[in-house]
């Protein structure tokens, strides 16, 4: 397993009022993303535990594009990865943001 951590400054707070959400499952080629609204509005953090070792550069690129596109201010993402492909990671991150942007708990 490899642990990675990314912290980004972002311009805008993520929408919605839910405090946490979870999408995906940990399986071969899949991952789970737990997102929690626990950070100041201009910060975003992503913690990754991945079964695929040596893909740090790819994660940097995927996370960079994601933060730029979605501006997930105030959110901490925790990822358990079973070796998912980058496009699956992007999709799950987007799904997590959509889910926490819903209104509710």
């Amino acid at each position: 397993m490899e642990d990675l951590r990314f912290e980004h400054s972002v311009s805008a707070r993520a929408g919605g009022s839910r405090t946490s959400a979870i999408v995906g499952v940990v399986a071969s080629g899949n991952l789970e993303v737990l997102v929690e609204r626990v950070l100041p509005d201009t910060e975003c953090a992503i913690d990754i535990k991945t079964a695929a070792i040596g893909f740090g550069e790819v994660w940097t690129a995927v996370i960079g594009d994601f933060v730029e596109r979605h501006s997930p201010g105030g959110l901490r993402f925790s990822i358990n990865d079973g070796g998912a492909r980058p496009d699956t990671v992007s999709l799950r991150l987007a799904q997590a943001v959509r889910l926490i942007a819903e209104n509710g708990q």
């Binding site: 790819v58 496009d87 699956t88 999709l91 987007a94």
Partner: protein, 548 residues
């Protein structure tokens, strides 16, 4: 001795030698090896029928068992190297030289044997190309073929899996060769005559039906969100704007996803009747929902598919069927149809390089070509116009004279940027080149050449290579849909942005598609069981695909 009918005399002598093991044309299965020893001469060109589906498996086992003092050093000229016995022939020394087209399940072993010098390789062909050579310089002396049934005169019924048989028999029987058929049963009257008796010299009754691989069944349960997104991009970004009606699909999961999205996503886009009406295609179970929803008018097939027989029989408006009601497939005609009468080929591959060349060869596997290069090639001999063909031609050459400009076939490569085990689809250098260097081949085994490819579709977007004006634009258009692969991350961001402004690259949002909508609930069938339901119980999938 000089003369002009030596070959006919030799053929008659072979038949006479074989007749000792036959009653009429009928030979018992246990005498098959003796028959082959009597008929085949050392060094003969032999076609052992087998392709990506049906296999003359009894005759391959019989050939493997011959006495090497009688039969050796054969030159095998056959579509498929698929069964282990096909390669055992070379290990044993029964055969020496090989010309073939496809080697799916044996791709790793054939690579090892080529490296080890066990096989003297002529060339790897496309199906159509090998068929063509049967009539010019690779005509078989003996053809060993497979049929469903025969009558006592030797008329053959090949059943839904007719496939290569008429072509092989034509080349062999009309050029003084000997045709030996294995059949599942001997009957008083065949349901229809696929091969007339006067082209068949011996018939061996097999104790069990010839083997057929269900190669074209894709379980909808295994289709991923990424493949659904890619399929949506293809439908909205290519099928719709070009109004593609006549086409061929590859066998991957991305094209299966397209087939399953036609009655849902395609219907919502109002495309029914506008696209995907006429196919050169095997009877893909995944196409059942589209057929049942009235999308598909006509399908001609290379071969059949296990479990589809009753469905095809009941849908003869769509499929080609014989007077007996069952499917009549024909690989040579269907390949020709795909080459000349289809406006689009769409399929997946294993590797694409920066020029758009693609290959399914990896350093340790030689899968052969099969039919994809003929489907996925612009037909330079084509002369009839059609809307998609003209539109593609105009995009490639906007300044040319409309009356003199060639159209272009749409050749679309579809896939996810990363394949199985996170292996990237896009590479700087194809493994095929490395292989050609190691094996000293004159040609690297390229499946589809870059100059034939018109579009590449991945989950990141659609690249229209017809609109690229320079090699550099083409490279950046490819990098621009290559996602997070090394090739994709080394893109020139400025140039990719400009290509996107010109519509050379179109992202999901440019096509009005939200990747979050790419959900399995969009598939018209999400399991094999759903396909059975759509077919009204007519589709009967093989056991390996069942979960009931």
């Amino acid at each position: 001795m000089t003369g002009w009918q030596n070959n006919r005399a030799a053929r008659d002598a072979r038949i006479a030698a074989g007749a000792g093991f036959a009653r009429g044309k009928l030979v018992e299965a246990q005498d098959a090896t003796h028959l082959l020893e009597a008929v085949i001469r050392p060094g003969d060109r032999v076609c052992l029928e087998g392709d990506n589906q049906k296999q003359a498996d009894l005759l391959s086992r019989a050939l493997l068992a011959v006495d090497l003092a009688k039969v050796s050093d054969l030159h095998m000229v056959q579509s498929g190297v698929v069964l282990p016995e096909h390669l055992d022939l070379f290990d044993r020394g029964v055969a020496k030289r090989l010309d073939y087209a496809y080697s799916g399940p044996q791709s790793a072993r054939i690579a090892r044997m080529l490296f080890g010098g066990k096989i003297e390789l002529g060339a790897v062909h496309t199906y159509l190309e090998l068929f063509a050579r049967y009539f010019i310089d690779l005509t078989p002396h003996v053809a060993l073929i497979a049929a469903v049934s025969a009558d006592r005169e030797g008329n053959l019924y090949t059943g839904p899996n007719t496939e290569d048989t008429p072509t092989v028999v034509e080349a062999t029987a009309f050029k003084d060769g000997v045709v030996i058929a294995q059949v599942n049963e001997i009957v008083d009257a065949v349901p229809r005559v696929d091969i007339p008796a006067d082209r068949v010299h011996f018939i061996v009754k097999s104790d069990k039906p010839f083997f057929v691989e269900p190669l074209f069944t894709r379980d909808p349960a295994a289709i991923t969100e990424g493949q659904i997104l890619t399929a949506m991009l293809a439908i909205k970004g290519i099928y719709a704007p070009y109004a593609v009606q006549r086409l061929n699909h590859g066998i991957g999961f991305s094209t299966a996803a397209i087939e399953l999205l036609l009655p849902t996503f395609g219907e919502r886009l109002g495309l029914k009747g506008q696209i995907a009406t006429h196919f050169a295609l095997n009877p893909h179970p995944a196409l059942i929902p589209a057929i049942e929803s009235g999308w598909v008018r006509q399908i001609h097939s290379f071969g059949s598919e296990v479990g589809m027989d009753d469905y095809i029989r009941a849908r003869s408006d769509v499929y080609f069927t014989g007077p007996d009601g069952s499917l009549r497939s024909n690989r040579a005609f269907c390949q020709t149809a795909g080459l000349y009468a289809c406006d689009m080929f769409i399929g997946s591959t294993l590797q694409i390089d920066l020029q758009g060349n693609s290959s399914t060869v990896t350093a340790s596997r030689i899968a052969g070509f099969g039919g994809a290069p003929n489907m996925g090639a612009d037909a330079r001999g084509r002369r009839h116009p059609s809307e998609p063909w003209l539109k593609a031609g105009a995009e490639a050459d906007p300044d040319g004279s409309a009356l003199m400009r060639r159209g272009r076939k749409l050749v679309v490569q579809i896939g996810e940027t990363f394949g199985d085990k996170n292996v990237p689809l896009f590479v700087e250098k194809l493994d095929a080149i490395e292989l050609a260097e190691k094996l000293n081949l004159d040609l690297a085994p390229i499946m589809i050449y870059g100059d034939d490819v018109t579009h590449i579709v991945t989950e990141e977007g659609v690249a229209n290579l017809l609109l690229c004006r320079t090699a550099q634009e083409r490279e950046q258009a490819i990098r621009g849909v290559a996602g997070y692969t090394d090739v994709g991350r080394r893109r020139d961001h400025g140039m990719v942005a400009r290509l996107r402004e010109r519509g050379v690259i179109r992202r999901p949002e440019d096509l009005g598609i939200n990747p979050l909508d790419a959900d399995r609930s969009m598939l018209a069938a999400r399991s094999i069981k759903d396909l059975v339901r759509w077919s009204g119980g007519l589709y009967s999938p093989p056991s390996k695909f069942r979960n009931w």
